[in-house]
């Protein structure tokens, strides 16, 4: 007899994964370690006070963390000028995205995003039985806001996902564009604004803090704050939306030392400012490197840069060639920007090593007549 089967929607899902991790790529390529420039992790480590606070907290790991993340939510509320009831802490934006899609997109309903943007979004849409409707990037890598809106309108979408700065393109929509989007947002549509990389943009270029029941903003400690491995992020939302998340989220959803580390990291403004400066220098380094080699880059406002290899085939060959030489980068997955590899800003030494390996790999590619 057949054992109990999963519910039809989940049984029908392919065994897909949004990412293949560097650990696994390394195992497959036979490298014990890789130059990790593929996951947009911070090359500058956790802030020193966060590290110290986590270290001091470790002996209490036998205790559960506070399921309310009360201290952290209080600190975030102060920072964003809102109530702690507007904040939900989760195990990274991935976790919070899952909650948003689960809560607001019923099976069969539509969520809209740019084709090839952060893959976990589509993973969750399919995972919760929703339908994904998309709009491609413009040729130059820009998110096409009007087309996204139109797509949302015609599909009666329940949710638009927008990453700003965008991943993987690195592009950034200015406040005026976002205001136009909000003005035109259909009444039935929620906007999920993924601001994972917003720390790399000057605060006065971001939407000011606001609470709008049609918008969920998501932030993370994984990027500028150097705590990707801790798995902690938060949503800024209306009290009603936050309460909805609280009805369904895992109660003990965040690691105890992650809570402590995130709280301490909020006091590390000077360190974070240094990271942001160094990331800007790194983006400039990558742009110069590309230019020297006759390649274009997409404008980036995040901690990574897309280098244009001209064709998808060349970009794929570049990722494979770099991996063979123990360098982990990723590439954009969808046309028209799947001709680009995406390189995380490393520290000075990592950038220098990348420049060497990339230059060598490009020569290898150029020597291969089979590549268009």
């Amino acid at each position: 007899m057949k054992p109990p089967q999963p519910v039809p929607n989940i049984a029908a899902l392919p065994l897909s994964r949004p990412f293949v991790a560097p650990e696994e790529l390394g195992r497959l390529a036979g490298h014990a370690t890789l130059l990790r420039l593929g996951a947009n992790e911070s090359a500058f480590g956790p802030p020193p006070r966060a590290l110290e606070a986590m270290r001091a907290e470790l002996p209490r790991t036998a205790w559960y963390g506070d399921p309310e993340s009360a201290d952290l939510r209080d600190a975030l509320a102060l920072r964003h000028g809102c109530s702690n009831e507007n904040i939900v802490v989760g195990a990274g934006i991935d976790d919070l995205l899952g909650l948003a899609i689960r809560a607001y997109v019923a099976p069969g309903e539509v969520a809209v995003a740019t084709l090839g943007t952060y893959p976990t979004v589509v993973y969750h849409i399919h995972g919760y039985g929703g339908r994904f409707a998309s709009v491609p990037y413009a040729r130059g890598g820009a998110v096409q806001l009007d087309a996204l809106l139109e797509r949302a309108r015609t599909t009666h979408a329940r949710l638009i996902y927008l990453a700003n700065p965008d991943n993987p393109s690195g592009g950034f929509l200015p406040v005026a564009d976002l205001r136009k989007l909000l003005d035109a947002l259909p009444g039935e549509t929620l906007l999920v604004l993924d601001e994972a990389y917003a720390d790399f943009v000057a605060p006065n270029e971001l939407l000011p803090d606001f609470i709008d029941p049609r918008v969920i903003r998501m932030r993370t400690f994984s990027k500028a704050y150097g705590l990707a491995g801790a798995r902690i992020g938060y949503a800024l939302a209306s009290r009603e939306t936050a309460a909805t998340f609280n009805k369904i989220r895992l109660q003990y959803n965040v690691n105890r030392t992650a809570q402590i580390g995130a709280l301490a990291a909020l006091d590390e403004g000077v360190f974070i400012a240094g990271v942001i400066d160094e990331v800007a220098r790194g983006r400039a380094d990558y742009a110069s490197l590309a230019k020297r080699l006759g390649l274009a880059t997409l404008p980036s406002f995040a901690n990574f840069v897309c280098i244009d290899l001209g064709t998808r085939e060349r970009a794929e060959a570049m990722v494979a060639t770099l991996l063979k030489n123990a360098v982990f980068v990723r590439k954009a997955s969808a046309a028209p920007i799947d001709r680009c590899i995406r390189v995380t800003v490393g520290c000075v030494e990592e950038r220098s090593l990348f420049a060497t390996r990339f230059t060598e790999a490009l020569a290898t590619l150029d020597a291969n007549p089979a590549l268009p």
Copy 2:
């Protein structure tokens, strides 16, 4: 205009929480710290090697953990004599329970469990739109296996949840009973066997390791292994079931230091054996204490003991009185064992402090003529 609303099933959920955490209880009661004997955390801390491994790993917190938890799964596969494809690592059993219910109980379908057992189960059943059908504990605290089976049959349940040892009763079903359950399990019903507390039972009294496509066994590092705050546990399941979990789980689901700590903890057999011995002594201490005070306890095979206060009202008053005196315990939530408070085994000093506070609280209760 009304903002976008949650999907009907989630909109209809009450804002319930499976637990109110000690941090919040402390805040409400005006105590900065509590004697934490309410969440079945280990009083003996993380194993030293786990602590050391986590400490050494913290500087790499800017890196994501391995989404495949490959090293940990390999070690667990070796321990359980199965393939690493039979193991799914998650952010504690709470996370894995959510996956099981999401994947195997469609909205409107039924899952069966004992009324008042681990509350996160019911939280997830309702959260995913399932229906909960239950059977009460026997008067003495035993799980009623035949009645659970009968309930599953008549409701065409997709899933039976069974905690063994049980929480909050502490009771334990011997292997022969579980074999009878497996023999009688309806073909459409999956058995989720929550073995969070199995480390406290002698291995030869547990079901041997086995892979059965009708069964998902769940284990955690939160109890004997002293890593509750790390949020890490695993499911042992058929390859098919594990693959189903892998289709929908969060990819970066576990904190990086938690993975490292759990792996190191597996090498701490001697330390864990010491914890288990001390927990057994602690259970005996609580039983003696109760006996001295003229109270019964439920037989326990876990790291906590239920002390019988006679009535729900007295048990509630006891929890409140202890909290007033900075002692955090919980009580069973459902009749007929809601007459019991549940006390986690602390270290010697904690047990001694508990004995004092409990004796005082009992005198307070006895002096209150309003309590039945």
